[in-house]
């Protein structure tokens, strides 16, 4: 089936509620980090950085906050 519509995709195909719970915001000095929860191998939980929210351009050069890095909460 092909559906042509002006409606947004999410209003036709609702997203699983659980998807929202994976991501969370963490406060860091100078901004915030959007992190995604990942289940680790040993049953632990890892948080991977999705996005850095800051207006300070120098923070984007900081390797600790590079998206894709694991972050300790």
């Amino acid at each position: 089936m092909i559906l042509y519509t002006y409606q947004a995709q999410e209003s036709i195909f609702p997203v699983d509620e659980q998807e929202y719970n994976k991501q969370q915001l963490v406060d860091i000095p100078g901004g915030q980090l959007l992190v995604e929860r990942e289940e680790g191998e040993m049953g632990g939980v890892n948080y991977r950085i999705v996005r850095l929210l800051s207006t300070d351009p120098n923070m984007y050069l900081d390797q600790r906050y590079t998206p894709g890095q694991y972050f300790q909460i």
Binding site: Q7, V15, E19, T55, D56
Partner: protein, 252 residues
């Protein structure tokens, strides 16, 4: 944090001990990750950059796979930039498809009311409600290949089919039009013509304005990129600095 150092330690027992352990493990992590304990600090930049990317999210939370700019993130950042004396200018980089009208106008109003010099740079796209944000700053740039789609306000979802709904939408659109015409040199007549013209967009009314055209219509000040934007911002910061004549230092 300052409380910890000031407060006389009431009970030198377990809670403090735990805090110490955590601190030590934090340092240990840093050594493991970076091979050193302290990350070199760069000088603080006097220009801060705000990126407005993806959809501008309003009251409805968009699914996590959407790239969004949330106003609850941007507004505190704008407040901090306005309030922090070390920040002298703000560069706003836009690559947005538009989004929530109320949220977009809120951001545009915040940017336009800042006392510090602001420059916007439209890269890729500054569509729909991105237009008022692009014109909100003191000076605006657009990349040569960037586009801005100007179209009437639309609504998705359940709408009550009464004349009042139309009037409400019309009023909302007037707010957008008046904001854009107040903050750029395009006339209301021209802007509405772009907004309501037919045949430019597939099965829709409105028009798509590319780089140079946006400048010739008077929506954007200049075609340019990051280099020109930073240069302009630095010039504006210099002008904005309180003039300190030679004897100003002597007085102090």
């Amino acid at each position: 944090m300052s409380d910890v150092s000031n407060s006389p330690q009431p009970t030198p027992s377990n809670p403090n001990q735990e805090g110490k352990d955590q601190k030590e493990s934090g340092i240990l992590d840093k050594i493991q990750q970076l091979g050193q304990t302290n990350v070199p600090q760069m000088d603080q930049s006097n220009i801060h950059v705000l990126t407005i990317i993806g959809q501008i999210e309003g009251h409805m939370q968009l699914p996590p796979q959407n790239k969004t700019t949330k106003y609850e993130h941007i507004i505190p950042q704008l407040v901090a930039a306005e309030q922090n004396p070390k920040i002298e200018g703000l560069l706003i980089i836009l690559n947005t498809v538009g989004g929530d009208v109320e949220a977009g106008l809120a951001l545009a109003e915040m940017i336009s009311s800042m006392s510090k010099p602001t420059v916007t740079l439209v890269l890729g796209g500054g569509h729909s409600i991105g237009v008022p944000i692009a014109v909100a700053a003191d000076y605006s740039f657009i990349a040569e290949t960037a586009t801005m789609t100007i179209h009437p306000v639309r609504l998705t979802g359940l709408v009550i089919g009464v004349p009042q709904t139309f009037e409400y939408l019309d009023k909302m659109q007037d707010r957008v039009v008046s904001f854009v015409t107040r903050h750029s040199s395009i006339s209301e007549e021209n802007f509405k013509e772009l907004m309501l013209s037919k045949g430019n967009l597939t099965r829709d009314i409105g028009s798509n304005v590319v780089g140079k055209d946006a400048v010739s219509y008077g929506i954007i000040n200049e075609v340019g990129g990051i280099g020109q934007a930073i240069k302009k911002l630095n010039e504006m910061i210099e002008q904005n600095r309180p003039q300190s004549p030679g004897n100003g230092d002597v007085v102090q």
